[in-house]
Symmetry: C2
Subunit: 206 residues, 2 copies
DNA sequence: TAAATTTGCTAACGAACGTTAGGTTGCTTA
DNA sequence: TAAGCAACCTAACGTTCGTTAGCAAATTTA
């Protein structure tokens, strides 16, 4: 666990921050160099091209999201529980890498082929993983929803907005955000309502 | 209702499509000219600058969203009903202008001052309108939600993802999308659950 | 028919772009 | 101590960028 970043990692980190705020195309190598306190040409001692930075960020984040959902799906339990785990895992990755997440979510279209295509394929696979959990929940009667793809996209969109307002120093911690999101989203899905008041809850057992 | 677009409107429409797919910065005036079948310099007979196009799109869409929520809020009824109207109105604007909406949602950061600041102020105002409806619902006991700002942002994020997958020729019509979204989102908000099965529903009356 | 407006052209501007070539410095390893 | 490497420099490359100037043709308006 080296807290010391290599120069290449520093470049990647600084570039990620710039890509988030200005966008990939609007960020010049001279902007990046200026932020690092060196000349633009010097950056090429460490990287092959501007796009390489974007590629590394996009595919590293993709990997992180996949590892997170792998762990969530490994849990056995109801579809509800697995979805809660998937949501929590997704939120954890997002909040731990706010800037890289923003780049991952918005700047991938500046990837050239074949990276652009590969990225989209990964994205589809990830969405399918969420959709499958929802499908399971529909089949088991846990969820009642008109369209599973629609549900998956709405859930993911709710999650993917977090990076625009989340601040590590803010009052809401990642786990809290995940719980609140799960509550908001799942109670819109579950047939068996979890938010009944205590005076009503006994009515739910039979 | 002139179906014939002025040259300026044609330019704006073509530019909007390009801004959506390639992004504002990655779209050159020569790209735009090429799409229109003219020379880049010729565009300047109709517009003052590249950014002017972005400004017009962003602020026109802002106006459309405000007019939509004005109408939704004018309806008297429960907070639930007003929120449903607001959602439906938002979806209607989004689906009627998919490309302009995408630009509105993602490219505004390329506005220069003072437009950038003005735009953000409008955006905050719009969010506050949603938040106020939710606040009313919390006060009336219709909604039960941990944080009203959090709820508003999650709802809006669910709505604002539509432009990425909505196709006018697709099977889901705008009103249907709005209904599904309302169902998904509101059932996560309402204390009084609407999706109880018929065999259970009588249990809820006392 | 004359004037005004719309629409487009060619040529070119200075600035900014991503990137390469070639060289220097200083630290680390054999 | 010599070799190797990491890090950065200056200078410059060819290209693309948004935009302006000045002019010409066509269409619309008076």
């Amino acid at each position: 666990m080296e807290a010391v970043l290599s120069r290449k990692e520093q470049i990647e980190k600084t570039a990620t921050a710039l890509f988030k705020t200005k966008g990939f195309s609007a960020t010049s190598m001279r902007d990046l160099a200026n932020e690092l306190g060196i000349e633009a040409a010097s950056i090429y001692s460490h990287i092959k091209s501007k796009e390489e930075i974007l590629q590394r960020v996009c595919f590293r984040m993709a990997q992180e999201f996949f590892e997170a959902i792998d762990a969530a799906e490994a849990v056995d339990g109801s579809a509800t529980e697995r979805l809660q785990h998937a949501i929590a895992a997704h939120v954890r990755v997002l909040t731990k890498n706010t800037e890289a997440s923003a780049v991952f979510l918005h700047e991938w279209r500046h990837l050239s082929e074949p990276f652009h295509g590969e990225f989209l394929a990964l994205r589809d696979k990830y969405e399918a993983r969420f959709r499958r959990i929802i499908r399971t929940g529909i089949d088991s009667g846990e969820f009642s929803v008109p369209d599973e793809k629609f549900a998956a996209l709405t859930i993911l969109s709710g999650l993917n907005w977090i990076h625009t307002w989340y601040k590590p120093e803010g009052k809401m911690k990642p786990e809290e955000i995940a719980d609140n999101l799960s509550a908001m989203l799942l109670n819109g899905l579950t047939t068996d309502k979890l938010t009944l008041t205590e005076s009503d809850s006994h009515l739910n057992t039979p």
